[in-house]
């Protein structure tokens, strides 16, 4: 199994979950962008699950913000989730950049899937 995997999970049907595991930085950011493009091309909501991510840097945040912007432009829901046992370093970069309410960042994947399904469109930023 790949240590720093990024895989798409389509078992939720209309919402695609991009599962990000391990360490991600400038080296893997292009792969993340490809996976996010693929998820966006399905036309439904997107959830990025960082529960099993152990490190993310500003290159990853850049990829997430670009995907979020494109999702909102095409009225697709976009939500990030971090689980209940998020790596402190992952929570830290989300906190100090003020991105928790913006992306937005939620805890559980199920909750995030529901939000991505119902909150498509620009109003998501208000949540």
């Amino acid at each position: 199994m790949e240590a720093n995997a990024i895989v798409l999970d389509d078992t939720a049907g209309d919402v695609i979950v991009v599962v990000v595991e391990g360490e991600h930085d400038i080296y893997t950011a292009p792969t993340l962008r490809e996976r996010l493009d693929e998820a966006l091309s399905h036309g439904g909501g997107i959830v990025v699950d960082l529960t099993a991510a152990t490190f993310v840097d500003s290159s990853v945040l850049g990829a997430l913000l670009d995907a979020r912007r494109r999702a909102l432009e095409s009225s697709q829901g976009f939500v990030v989730c971090v689980g209940d046992t998020v790596e402190p370093g992952v929570q830290r970069i989300l906190d100090i950049t003020g991105l928790v309410p913006v992306l937005p960042v939620m805890r559980g994947r199920d909750e995030a899937i529901t939000a991505a399904r119902t909150n498509g469109g620009p109003d998501i930023a208000a949540g």
């Binding site: 930085d25 080296y27 490190f55 840097d57 290159s59 913000l65 830290r92 913006v102």
Partner: protein
């Protein structure tokens, strides 16, 4: 403190390529294992050093990749990490490939390190010197919050945070 004393100084020198940044983090984690680092400080240190190395990989050199140099200097109460390139100098070049960066690198380094200094001259490279206390008295991110926010168009806007 571990019984196995770490070397006082570790120097890494490698081609300035994206795959090297994770290697620097691994080396840093190994060195920190032998020092009495608070887990939160180690986490901040990995992030700050990653951002400094990423700046070198993305901005320091033209087509021909140069070297990325990292020095770790263990003191009595803190670890100083110097990330250096021999590229164009302090004025960053646009990214050679890929999407534009957010410009978050230096603000993150300032927020996550206990002390931080940037030195560079045109044509003679850049040096980022960061110091991390083994045990912190206060969170540097409180004194140096990351400025900037996501604008209405969804793009990151560097600058002052909202009041």
């Amino acid at each position: 403190m571990s019984e196995l004393a770490p070397p006082a100084e570790v120097v890494l020198n490698m081609p300035a390529r994206a795959e090297g940044v994770g290697v620097v983090r691994q080396a840093l984690a190994g060195m920190a294992d032998a020092l009495a680092f608070d887990a939160a400080v180690l986490s901040d240190m990995k992030m700050a050093v990653t951002e400094a190395c990423t700046n070198v990989v993305v901005h320091a050199y033209e087509e021909q990749a140069g070297q990325l140099e990292v020095e770790m200097l263990a003191g009595e109460e803190d670890l100083t990490i110097v990330v250096r390139d021999h590229g164009a100098g302090i004025q960053p070049k646009p990214a050679r490939t890929g999407p534009p960066a957010l410009g978050l690198g230096l603000p993150l380094i300032a927020a996550l390190s206990d002390a931080f200094e940037l030195r560079g001259t045109a044509g003679r490279g850049t040096e980022v010197r960061m110091t991390f206390a083994y045990v912190r008295e206060e969170d540097p991110a409180e004194a140096n919050p990351v400025p900037g926010q996501v604008g209405a168009d969804g793009r990151w806007e560097p600058g002052e945070p909202p009041a």
